[in-house]
């Protein structure tokens, strides 16, 4: 049936031939790749050449950003009618299959390109200060450069296999960087966990690819988008299966329920890594994948509902865990999981632009928060290091009052906090508002979306609370670091604070890229217009009815009120009682303990899945099947048989020439008889 299908489906998606700067888009990948090679060589040969590493490591990122900016300018000047495909070489060619190693330049990939290289550049610069003292400095930059190269392959790939290279590549870099300080077993374990959990998701992407190839005979995004609407029935079993398997990949990569548990552990890596990989870029790959295949998801309303539901649930669930964490990075990690949930709520609702919008603003303020926390940890670490104390440098109970010592970091993180809480008119306000409004609007078609909206709203309250709690515990009140240590607390050097300032500015005004119509100043809906060509087909299939007029104002008012309430509660409740240091703190009790222990999900997974699996593997698979059946009967048995036959063969090799000639002659007689017949 597949071949008749092929005959019935001649159309490929429209594409534009690359011209101008777009032809050189591969340079954006090549630069970081060169950086990886150079830094990798330095890491092996001359790890002490830190200046060279800094120059190469950040230089290639800035060069990639320049490429991205040039391509963006070209696309703005001459918007193409269809995606520009830059084919580099024929990769897999076979009967009926022609997979090009090609990059797709369109409005969506350029947005991602700018975010990855832009935010990436800032984080690379920050790392120069943050990692300077580390012995593995060159190795660190090599990995970071390699990550950016793979991330760009992911967002630029014009088909699923190329995307998958990037998808696996960023995963690899992520594991390498999570366990960067591999001397500590916990770090190595965290890397392993991320690796294993992500395999589940990757399997989903692979199955989706096979299904797509079977049904559509193409893996090119443009061709899939062109063929699927005419081939597969809307909300049919096949399209639901394809999109659900794709989404499984997203759930793994973007840390959604039930596969989110790896991300908080991933904070074991250096903090700039958390900012770049586990907040701003890699974990948003799932959102990008849905937006990239928006037509498929729009054709499967059932899947879309699942996506939105999982997103809303994750947003709420992760935010609630964030309420009671003490490790500053853990709070931010759960916050990331929660915000990713918002993005999936958006793309599940059909508000693809809103999802990408939140992806962009989140990249700004979450990168800022992570880097800011990095500055704090850096200062705390130095203070403890100077006094040879072994207290936890990441525990917020050991901080407090840092505002006095690190005014810049405090001010900038406050901007990010207000942005993520959704205070108007900061960037996060616009993107979050658009998502909630879209969910509310979809409530007209199905009541369940009103529930999703309510969950999003509750999550927004918690977000404001835990972020303000973080700020209050870290920067306000009295300092709890210790008298001796206090003298060593100081603001980070400018190479670290500088990138924070840029990110602070972006968090402040980032909303300008997609202002809603009600906002008094223009231009409005820039991102909507920019991404229109990419999501138009999906939006036609799944139109979103945005609320207008009084309803819209009521929603905005509600959201802002909730943000304000959350912020005030977070501030007042945190500082109401004196906070004991981590050393003296009593154990949490009651529900707070459940939250602190993250609902015991890790323990439940361990008991229900990990342990039974390990036991099953050990007893049945290893001892029984592998050692008993495969090794014993299969491998050893057949190897024994083969060896026995081989032994007979080598016995025949007597070394006696006469015998050889006899064998030769028997063969010759047989051969002549055969040909003569």
């Amino acid at each position: 049936m597949t071949f008749s299908l092929l005959a019935a489906l001649p159309q490929v998606g429209e594409m534009t031939v690359a011209t101008g700067a777009a032809r050189w888009v591969w340079l954006a990948v090549a630069f970081p790749l060169v950086g990886f090679l150079v830094n990798g060589a330095l890491a092996l040969k001359r790890p002490e050449a830190k200046t060279a590493v800094s120059v190469v490591g950040t230089g290639v990122l800035l060069a990639a950003f320049a490429v991205a900016a040039t391509v963006f300018v070209q696309l703005r000047g001459h918007p193409p009618d269809a995606p520009i495909i830059v084919s580099l070489w024929s990769w897999i060619v076979s009967t009926g299959m022609d997979i090009q190693f090609a990059f797709q330049v369109d409005q969506l990939s350029v947005v991602m390109l700018l975010v990855v290289t832009g935010v990436g550049s800032l984080i690379h610069i920050f790392s120069v200060g943050y990692m300077r003292a580390d012995a593995g400095y060159a190795r660190y930059f090599a990995y970071l450069n390699l990550f950016v190269a793979f991330m760009l392959v992911l967002v630029l790939g014009s088909n699923l296999p190329v995307l998958f290279i990037g998808w696996e590549g960023v995963g690899l870099c992520s594991y390498l960087l999570i366990s960067f300080w591999y001397g500590d077993k916990a770090n190595a374990d965290a890397g392993k966990k991320a690796f294993l959990v992500n395999r589940i998701g990757d399997l989903g992407v692979l199955i989706a690819m096979f299904l797509l190839w079977w049904q559509v005979r193409s893996l090119e995004f443009v061709t899939i988008a062109a063929r699927v609407p005419g081939t597969l029935p809307v909300d049919g079993g096949i399209i639901i299966a394809i999109t659900l398997f794709l989404f499984l990949g997203c759930v793994g990569k973007s840390a959604q329920i039930p596969l989110y548990t790896w991300l908080p552990d991933a904070m074991a890596g250096p903090t700039p890594v958390s900012a770049l990989i586990h907040a701003a870029t890699m974990v948003t790959a799932g959102v990008y994948l849905v937006a990239r295949n928006s037509v498929l998801f729009a054709m499967a309303p059932t899947t879309s509902m699942v996506v939105a539901g999982i997103g809303a649930l994750t947003a709420l669930f992760a935010a609630s865990i964030g309420l009671r964490q003490y490790d500053i990075k853990k709070v931010l990690a759960y916050s990331t999981v929660s915000q990713l949930g918002y993005m999936f709520l958006a793309v599940g609702t059909g508000a693809y632009v809103a999802g990408v919008f939140h992806l962009v603003t989140h990249a700004f303020f979450k990168a800022l928060l992570f880097l800011g926390s990095g500055s704090v940890i850096h200062a705390m670490h130095h203070a403890y290091h100077a006094t040879h104390s072994h207290e936890d440098a990441q525990d917020m109970r050991n901080m407090g009052g840092l505002r006095k010592y690190m005014p810049w970091t405090f001010g900038l993180m406050l901007i990010a906090t207000l942005a993520i809480a959704g205070v108007a008119p900061l960037s996060g306000f616009f993107s979050k508002d658009e998502i909630l409004a879209a969910a509310f609007g979809r409530g007209e078609t199905h009541k369940i979306w009103l529930l999703f909206w309510g969950m999003g709203l509750a999550a927004a309250l918690m977000t404001a609370y835990y972020m303000m709690r973080l700020m209050a515990m870290t920067f306000l009140g009295d300092n709890r670091t210790g008298a001796k240590e206090r003298e060593h607390l100081h603001e980070a050097p400018w190479i670290m604070t500088g990138p924070l300032v840029v990110l602070g500015l972006l968090s402040l005004i980032g909303g300008v890229i997609n202002l809603p119509a009600f906002f008094p100043a223009g231009p409005h809906h820039v991102l909507d217009g920019w991404l229109e060509p990419v999501v138009a087909a999906a939006s036609r299939l799944m139109p979103v009815a945005m609320p207008h007029g009084a309803t819209e104002w009521a929603l905005i008012g509600g959201a802002v009120t909730i943000a304000a309430v959350g912020l005030v509660l977070g501030w007042k409740l945190t500082l109401a009682n004196p906070i004991p240091t981590a050393h003296d703190a009593p154990e949490d009790t009651g529900f707070a303990r459940v939250l602190f222990r993250k609902y015991y999900v890790d323990e439940i997974y361990d008991a229900l899945i990990v342990r039974p699996l390990v036991a099953f593997s050990r007893v049945v698979l290893w001892k029984g099947v592998d050692q008993g059946l495969i090794d014993g009967v299969g491998a050893n048995g057949s190897a024994g048989l083969a060896r026995a036959l081989g032994w007979i063969g080598s016995r025949l090799q007597t070394g006696q020439l006469g015998f050889y000639v006899v064998v030769f002659l028997i063969g010759a007689v047989w051969l002549l008889r055969t040909v003569a017949q």
Binding site: V93, Q653, L672
Partner: protein, 503 residues
């Protein structure tokens, strides 16, 4: 296009320029030997002259190839097509690599024998005549020139009784096999009145092969089967490889085998393509026997050299499978696989040569134990060789096996394909332990190389081979395309694209 009239002396000279230059080089080496044959330095000098004399031959080949030389009028005595040029290139590469690996080997073994290099060149010229022959008589002459030189080379380690045994065995069975070959040529001539390959092909076109022709073809296959060491004409191979100097064993496994297969392809595809129903069952049976026996017996070998000898028998089976379809794809697969096999085997024997100590009959798995700790690059190169011989994805060997499978599956002989895959799987049973020994076993206090050093020429040769194996393993597209194109100059029917890779 460069038409060359093969009926005129000047035309033949042009067409045979690479062969002539190699012969001239061999004689030059002999003349140098007349004055300088006493010290190791003299021996090195001879090797350098031999190596240098390959350069003009390669240049002449490049000139003919790039110029698109083709026969004016009827083909006569020597072929002028892409397939011959590719064959010559393969043989030149194998020869050059053997010379490069011999420098260090002869020094390590203390063999002062400058004649060695002229014999290598004579053998190479014989191979070139053989692989490029358009006439059975030329083929036979080439084969004899090659064989006589290689008989001597096999016995070159005069101090070793095993080397003498190897030479004698090879010579006796070889003479026996040559008689079969010559008788086969005579019968084919009797059946068709022709010795030219195209002439035979025209005479037989469309008709049934007479019994005399069938017997002639059968005898021819026996003779060629001996040269390529196909079961059951293989019994000489393990003993001879074992006793010969290691670079010569490598030369036999690559050059002699390549020349044999290239000549065989030409005979079967040009002279008797219409008698496929006669030769295909025989080729299939020889292929299966070689794959099964070669791989199974290799499993129970202790000596790595004998293991590689049986492995080369198994590879003869793969190559017979490759040429079975009689299509363009089949000829292309032979070229690709030979290229992969020659490169890998050259490197493998090169490494074996440096691992061996004192007559190197005792290189076993224990000799490579812990190699990775002391010589990580050598262990890596050995690993790549084993994986490529195994046909592991990412190596050139995999591409070769894929090409063979594409051809066989395309010609709908699924059973052959299945046997090839299963026996390849069995071969993991003796290739992988080498890697395991190199990486997972402890060397103990002793250096696996025992203080011997790999000389620079050897290192460069192995490094280049390994690089090409890896690069073409990952990016096989262009070389696959050119192989199909080359095959197209010989056969114009059947299968233009490989399943899966290339275009």
């Amino acid at each position: 296009m460069m038409p060359i009239d093969l009926q005129t002396p000047s035309g033949v000279t042009l067409a045979l320029l690479p062969e002539i230059l190699v012969c001239a080089g061999a004689m030059l080496v002999l003349m140098v030997n007349a004055w300088k044959h006493h010290t190791g330095a003299d021996s090195r000098l001879a090797g350098k002259v031999a190596l240098a004399s390959l350069i003009p031959a390669a240049a002449a080949l490049a000139w003919l190839w790039a110029g698109g030389a083709e026969p004016e009028g009827r083909p006569f005595m020597v072929a002028l097509d892409g397939f011959r040029f590719a064959s010559l290139a393969l043989i030149l590469i194998a020869t050059a690599a053997t010379i490069l690996l011999s420098f260090g080997y002869l020094e390590r073994e203390g063999l002062i024998a400058p004649e060695y290099y002229s014999l290598l060149l004579f053998a190479a010229s014989g191979m070139m005549f053989m692989a490029g022959a358009e006439d059975l008589m030329v083929l036979f002459l080439g084969l004899e020139v090659m064989s006589v030189s290689v008989y001597v080379l096999a016995g070159f380690n005069r101090g070793s009784i095993f080397s003498a045994e190897a030479a004698l065995k090879y010579f006796l069975v070889g003479a026996f096999a040559s008689a079969f070959l010559l008788y086969g040529i005579a019968l084919l001539w009797g059946a068709t009145g022709q010795t030219g390959l195209s002439g035979i092909g025209e005479r037989l076109a469309g008709g049934e092969l007479p019994l005399m022709g069938k017997l002639g073809l059968g005898l021819l296959l026996i003779g060629m089967g001996f040269k390529v060491a196909a079961v059951p004409f293989h019994m000489w191979a393990p003993d001879v490889y074992d006793g010969s100097p290691t670079p010569i064993a490598g030369f036999m496994a690559t050059g002699v085998k390549a020349a044999g297969f290239l000549a065989l392809v030409r005979i079967l595809y040009v002279a008797v393509p219409d008698a496929a129903s006669t030769w295909q069952p025989v080729v299939a049976a020889l292929a299966v026997a070689s794959m099964v026996v070669g791989n199974l017996v290799a499993l129970s070998q202790r000596s790595l050299k004998r293991m590689l000898a049986y492995s080369s028998i198994a590879h003869a089976g793969y190559l017979l499978t490759a040429l079975w379809p009689g299509t363009r794809l089949g000829a292309g697969a032979v070229v690709i696989y030979l290229a992969a096999y020659v490169l890998t085997t050259v490197a493998a024997f090169g490494i074996l040569g440096v691992l061996g100590k004192g007559g190197e009959r005792d290189v076993t798995l224990d000799s490579v134990a812990g190699l990775s700790k002391r010589h990580p690059w050598l262990a890596f190169a050995l690993t790549v060789c084993m994986l490529s011989l195994l046909g592991f994805p990412g190596t050139f060997g995999f591409v070769g096996k894929w090409a063979i499978l594409s051809g066989v599956v395309g010609a709908r002989h699924i059973l052959l394909a299945v046997i090839l895959v299963v026996t390849s799987l069995i071969s993991a049973g003796y290739y992988l332990p080498v890697i395991m020994a190199a990486y997972m076993r402890d060397a103990g206090a002793e250096d696996p190389l025992g203080g011997r050093r790999f000389d620079r020429a050897g290192v460069v040769t192995v490094a280049v081979a390994i690089t090409v194996i890896l690069v073409l393993g990952v990016l096989p597209g262009s070389v696959l395309n050119s192989a199909i194109e080359i095959a197209g100059t010989l056969v114009r029917t059947g299968g233009s694209s490989l399943v899966g890779i290339g275009r």
